[in-house]
Symmetry: C3
Subunit: 222 residues, 3 copies
């Protein structure tokens, strides 16, 4: 299925671009752009492959993926100073990557396990883990913790893909509709601040206040 | 061995609850609770399985685990606002999960490798990695870095399990005594602030003071 | 090839020492030193093995590695208070580990896949991932984000190793020259502040300023 590869390459490219944008925000050098591009572009699919027992992972079997992350990172390196807000662009490209990867991850999970539940899980994992790695490595606040809908968009896209297939839709239609709806949900969340109810939870207090660490006092800072 | 499954399910449930409590502290939506519950509940065992070469990982082979993390996360979503301190509850459930997972991890490591040393390592890894992931993803100070005994409790439980088996104890007795002692050690540390000697180390200075990064000066903040 | 094992053991030892130095900076107990030593010493190679599909991973097949990380961590525990600056020592040992692991990782990647491109990637991954884990778990600013040359040094060493082999050099010469040059590049960066151009990127603004999270206002801190 050639559209599958195309969507997968596109998802890797946009996620790699978000990683490179993070590298730009941190003023790394060109090799830092390549590194963050690769980690972000292939991180989610790598975890997916490891969990499903499909090793060596996909980009070892097909190094084209590394060429794509490299190209995307170089493109960002050359153009990043033209954008008014790299972080805003990062979030929108992340939304596109999330949409593409939630259906790709669900497709691979379903093919490997036959279980719709596991397809949802691999869809969400593939769609979110690259961005999680990017934010962790760049020391940025994780996009997971923003209040607008994020993981739910990946869940929606994965679920629509799985349901469409179950109701007999053609694979290409299931892929495209799942990705499109995931992008609309996440895009709407970015543009209009859509949220889901948070169960009236209050913000957590500082752990060191709730459970003060007891440390011996005979030590001074040096 | 059916008690093995029972202890494993229980460990997954309490760790998933700690992940959901973190989601509550961060005011995430219900899907965020499910995500943090799953990552925390199955993260440690996932790393253990990958390292031992047992892929696809356990929850792909038996999706019951995902049902358990989902149920635990929903229970926390519905009840979290009743607790006076979610962080305190998180630490105590984490202690229970640590105790259950250190013997489970040691058991699986021993079964897979036959090496008592590796059993200690897989015990500690399984017991701590879910919590490490939870704290990393939630942007919380890692429970690893608190001064009270933590990793040592997992080591104690794993070691008691391995030693009990070596001295001919029945597996159920080795499992229960290892888990019980690990919980008592960690619980005592939480309640009484038990620590081990820290070798008179002084706190580290800020890296940027010790080794100031040299950055070109011709750039302004934008 | 026995020199291969020797270099690998040496790399694991120096990286384990950097992990233990981080534990010292965080005033952890002796078990914390062992934990951080092991995670840092074997983290990079573990990821490399998983990605290449070589599970169980190397230290499960040869637990000598765990003995080495333990010994290195104990040595640091006993001596850390003698060093004027643990962080400076950490960076220099990290440079040595980076140099050893970039050629070791490239060698294993090349042996497993036959692809020079993948050899560069596994070289960089193996050389950097232990340090990434160390900094993440210790809550320290990642060495990846420092302005001086870092990832580029690993790339240089891996590339020199691969090229030397391609031009017919003996394996031991390719290993030693790659490691030596990587160490000189990273060491020069530490000593003289060498950097590569950063493409005129400006530092990123706070995400919460660029895209303010919208949260309902009816909640107070508790």
């Amino acid at each position: 299925m050639s559209m599958l590869s195309l969507l997968d390459y596109a998802g890797v490219a946009v996620f790699a671009a978000t990683g490179a944008l993070s590298a730009s925000r941190k003023q790394l050098d060109i090799i830092g752009y390549l590194f963050f591009g690769a980690v972000t572009g292939i991180g989610g699919g790598t975890l997916r492959d490891l969990i499903l027992g499909q090793a060596p992972v996909f980009w070892v079997r097909d190094p084209t993926y590394l060429v794509i992350t490299t190209a995307a990172a170089i493109a960002v390196f050359l153009s990043a100073n033209r954008f008014e807000s790299r972080y805003r662009l990062l979030l929108w490209l992340d939304a596109a990557g999330l949409a593409l990867f939630c259906v790709m991850g669900a497709e691979k999970g379903l093919a490997a396990t036959g279980s719709p539940l596991l397809a949802l899980v691999t869809g969400i994992l593939t769609a979110t883990f690259g961005g999680i790695l990017r934010d962790l490595l760049a020391g940025e606040p994780s996009v997971l913790l923003r209040p607008e809908i994020y993981i739910s968009a990946a869940l929606t896209g994965s679920a629509l893909f799985v349901l469409s297939l179950a109701f007999g839709a053609a694979p290409w239609l299931a892929l495209l509709s799942g990705a499109l709806v995931a992008f609309l949900v996440r895009g709407g969340a970015l543009k209009f601040g859509w949220t889901l109810p948070t169960g009236r939870a209050k913000p957590g207090r500082d752990p060191d206040v709730v459970m003060p660490p007891r440390r011996r006092d005979d030590q001074q800072e040096t």
